[in-house]
């Protein structure tokens, strides 16, 4: 019991707090946050012309790429916002977990007491 209590109210509880860093790092990795921030205004899938392309084709590729940058910006921004929402969600969950964590072992006796007193 001593070992259990030492861990639950020591390293176990601290691990819940530390899990926020790990989870947010995972979100950043899954949503490629670093890459998306550094390429926010880059074209969305570049379009190129091959050797011997006419002037018209080259112009069309240029305008397509401008359009592509706009699409890219919107999609990346959308993904970044999703990552941000996920991070906030994780922060709230972690906070709730941090508050509930110390109460869980107490809840075993607390539940019985509450039941008897109800």
């Amino acid at each position: 019991m001593r070992v259990f209590l030492l861990w639950w109210y020591g390293d176990g509880w601290a691990a819940v707090a530390k899990s926020f860093n790990r989870r947010t790092a995972n979100v950043a990795q899954v949503f490629s946050v670093n890459q998306l921030l550094s390429t926010l205004f880059a074209p969305w899938r570049r379009i190129i012309t091959y050797p011997g392309a006419s002037l018209e084709e080259k112009f069309r590729a240029w305008t397509d790429n401008i359009f592509s940058r706009t699409i890219g910006f919107v999609i990346r921004l959308f993904v970044l916002l999703t990552a941000l929402i996920m991070t906030i969600f994780i922060a709230i969950l972690t906070l709730i977990e941090l508050i509930i964590w110390p109460l869980l072992p107490l809840g075993i006796i607390g539940g019985v007491v509450a039941g008897l007193l109800w």
């Binding site: 390293d11 899954v30 869980l104 039941g115």
Partner: protein
């Protein structure tokens, strides 16, 4: 508290508790917790709030221990640097704290671990044998065993002291085990090597679990690559799809050098190394580093695409299309923004072209544009050719030379390869097989560099497994089949053959007992493994007059021990009297089919007969010095060929007159042996450094009349072998034999004319008799002197 290990510590207690509360208990507890929680909800919904509190209490009673098991007991994190803190929970849990901690008690806690099995299986030991050896260890060895285990863990970068490391520590303390391993031609230190192999696997497995490739937005800033998808192989995608892991190679010197050059904005790199040195593997390992983002910001998540020039050529209609496709591929890669092109075997593309196109010109225009990084794989010769033919192109390429792997690195690669081969082929590859692959590939495969040649040999030895185990013998069997050499220990039949080699040789030649005995002894020494393995099996200088059996002995040796007279490489050294003849000897076979190098490369297990050695040019004799000293020679391309499985026999007539005279005066060969050699040196027939390098200088004496009669009988045997197809046998009367000896012996040429005389006398006579119908199949004909037409 027992000495070094604190078995009463919280960690030890927790480990034992975790063992008792198995995974099944956790799953049961979790399930019951959720059922109770569901019960609480149902009861609350039905308005029985009071009872729902009881259910919640019950749910927590199951869920809290489940959480504890999952997050703590199951992982038992390391806290501190003490032995108890670092020791694996598996070991701590298995030691009974009530018993005194002895090596035997510690071993009992490890014996059933798969890691312990990994070590003794790979050393071809059994659990029972190791346990018996551990029985003899005294208590004082525990500290040493745990210290060794900690050192192994530190060495492989593992904080945790795994059960396998402790098992290795105990095994390393056993002298009995050391003696046993020596009997198996292994070493006690091999235990540590195998445990490090295990440790590297465990650490690498952990790294593989953590492998990440960049998330959903990784490729969104890059362009489409339809052409590259069609004509190239995306190495990065292969790594992600097939979960390929290059382990320690990703941080090797070669890979880091390529990465550094790319970071410094080199647009064209040549990875230069011999075949087998790992050029392609290094590029794969780089691809893994980049796609895992383990590099600077600029190169992170770049992909490597291997272009196959042969595929492109086979897919185009006109030669001009090749240039168009190559430039388009480079353009596409440049615009995509995250592609590094890789031209494997660039030599074929650049130096020869794959058809009617100028590969160098195409590449120069791509490199000149500098829009896309490109890596070329080249051999040193290939790069030199490019430098000579196209200096402008060569100056634009940054060379990165990959050196041949050291023994340690090659064994690491073999260990990694062995794990893959074991899984794929469901076999066990003993550690001794890895060291044998290294040493034997080094000796017999001169066309490839390490680690490639050792990997090839190991892979090719899989069919030679014995009961699903690849041992040193499996590797030796593979080498024997691949190169036609004898490398394993002599099996009983061969040992018997070797012990009676003189008798077998004497079935094919008469007398010259001393010469036969010297040669047989050399072969026995070589097969027993008591000679220098870096020199030829034997090297002899045969001196004596013509026609006394020097060449016959070489032939007899080839047909008995080397199994066929075809395994004799014979060179008439009188054809090599000019310095320019050296090129013919050293040719790689491209322009000279009779090259010595080519012959030995084709038949590494053979008798090399150098007839009339004294007539060769001195520069060629210097070459012979190198063969006798180092057991190898390099061809005109710089590739080495081994003479270490050859018997080198040089013959010479030098001193023949002197030998004949001394024999006529009844002198014994042993008495004038040294004197004769001094005479030859004095007369400049041979340089002392050459004579001294031969294992033996053997003097052949002229044949006596009775020996000549036996030579006739031997030759008649050969005639009868030919006639046996027609079921005819010929015998000779004593008078007939004497007549042939009389006509066939020449004081100058010895017994050499004998074969011609026999042919004329016997074969011609028999031929006439067959045609005239005098001799019919199934008959035995006895010829007298009067029958012979000489």
């Amino acid at each position: 508290m027992v000495g070094l290990l604190d078995l009463a510590s919280d960690r030890a207690y927790t480990a034992r508790l975790a063992k008792r509360l198995s995974r099944q208990s956790y799953l049961a507890s979790l399930s019951l917790g959720f059922i109770a929680l569901a019960g609480a909800v149902i009861v609350a919904v039905n308005g029985h709030t009071r009872y729902s509190f009881f259910f919640i209490s019950l749910a927590l009673l199951f869920l809290v221990p489940a959480i504890w098991w999952k997050r703590y007991l199951n992982v038992l994190p390391i806290k501190g640097n003490g032995l108890t803190e670092r020791l694996s929970a598996e070991v701590l849990a298995n030691i009974d704290p009530k018993k005194e901690l002895t090596p035997q008690v510690l071993w009992a806690s490890l014996e059933k671990s798969w890691q312990t099995g990994f070590i003794y299986h790979h050393l071809l030991l059994s659990s029972e044998v190791v346990s018996l050896c551990i029985e003899h260890l005294d208590k004082s060895t525990i500290k040493s065993a745990l210290d060794i285990a900690a050192v192994i863990a530190d060495g492989v970068g593992s904080k945790l002291i795994e059960p396998g490391f402790v098992a290795a520590g105990l095994m390393l303390n056993s002298k009995d085990l050391g003696a046993l391993l020596l009997e198996q031609k292994s070493k006690l230190e091999d235990i540590k090597t195998v445990s490090v192999w295990l440790g590297r696997n465990l650490v690498e497995f952990g790294d593989r679990e953590k492998q990440k490739f960049g998330g959903i937005g990784r490729d969104w800033a890059f362009g489409y690559t339809p052409l590259l998808n069609k004509f190239g192989l995306n190495l990065s995608q292969s790594i992600m799809k097939d979960q390929i892991h290059f382990g320690w190679l990703t941080a090797s010197r070669g890979v880091l050098a390529i990465e550094a050059a790319l970071e410094n904005h080199s647009r064209a790199l040549a990875v230069i190394g011999q075949v087998g040195v790992g050029k392609t593997s290094n590029v794969y390992a780089l691809a893994q580093r980049l796609i895992e983002g383990k590099t600077s910001g600029d190169l992170a998540f770049h992909e490597l695409v291997m272009i196959n020039a042969t595929d492109i050529v086979s897919n185009v209609r006109r030669p001009g299309d090749i240039e168009y496709i190559m430039i388009s591929l480079a353009n596409e890669a440049a615009h995509a923004g995250h592609i590094i092109l890789f031209l494997d075997d660039a030599e074929a593309f650049l130096t020869e072209g794959t058809g009617s196109f100028d590969g160098a010109k195409i590449l120069q225009s791509i490199i000149g544009a500098g829009s896309v990084p490109i890596i070329l794989a080249l051999t040193p010769n290939g790069f030199q050719t490019i430098k000579a033919r196209n200096p402008a192109l060569a100056s634009q390429i940054t060379p990165i030379v990959l050196n041949e792997f050291s023994e340690t690195d090659t064994l690491h690669v073999l260990e990694d390869t062995a794990v893959g081969l074991e899984n794929k082929n469901k076999v066990l590859i003993a550690y001794e097989a890895l060291t044998a692959s290294y040493s034997l590939s080094g000796r017999y495969s001169s066309d490839e560099a390490y680690p490639g040649k050792a990997i090839s040999l190991l892979s090719r030895s899989i069919p030679y497994s014995q009961g699903s185990v690849i041992t040193r013998a499996s590797i030796e069997a593979a080498v024997e089949d691949m190169y036609g050499v004898k490398v394993g220990s002599a099996h009983p039949a061969e040992a018997e053959e070797l012990l009676n080699l003189e008798d077998r040789i004497h079935q094919q030649m008469i007398n010259q007992d001393q010469a036969v005995s010297v040669v047989a002894n050399a072969l026995r020494r070589a097969r027993a493994g008591v000679t220098n393995p870096h020199r030829p099996v034997g090297s002899f200088l045969f001196l004596g007059p013509t026609g006394v059996g020097k060449t016959e002995l070489a032939k007899a040796l080839a047909s008995t021990y080397f199994k066929s007279v075809d395994n004799m490489i014979r060179l008439d050294m009188s054809e090599y009297q000019n310095p320019s003849d050296l090129n013919r000897l050293l040719s790689d076979g491209t322009n000279e089919t009779k090259s010595l190098i080519l012959s030995v490369r084709q038949k590494p297990f053979s008798v090399v007969l150098l007839d009339e050695i004294e007539k060769a040019h001195p520069s060629i004799l210097n070459l012979l010095l190198q063969i006798l000293d180092e057991g190898s020679l390099s061809d005109s391309q710089g590739r080495s060929v081994s003479f270490k499985d050859c018997v080198i026999i040089a013959t010479s007539n030098a001193g023949a007159q002197s030998i004949r005279k001394r024999i006529e005066f009844n002198e014994n060969i042993n008495d004038f042996h040294d004197e004769l050699i001094e005479e030859l040196i004095k007369h400049n027939d041979f340089k002392p450094e050459l004579i001294n390098r031969f294992d033996e200088v053997v003097i052949f004496r002229p044949l006596q009349p009775d020996e000549l009669a036996r030579v006739v009988m031997l030759m008649l045997k050969e005639v009868n072998q030919t006639l046996s197809q027609q079921n005819i046998t010929v015998s000779l009367t004593e008078a007939a034999i004497n007549k042939i000896v009389e006509k066939g012996y020449d004081p100058t040429f010895g017994a050499r004319p004998m074969r011609r005389v026999l042919q004329k006398a016997v074969e011609d006579t028999i031929a006439k008799k067959i045609l005239s119908g005098e001799i019919k199949p199934g008959t035995n004909t006895n010829l007298d002197a009067s029958d012979l037409t000489i």
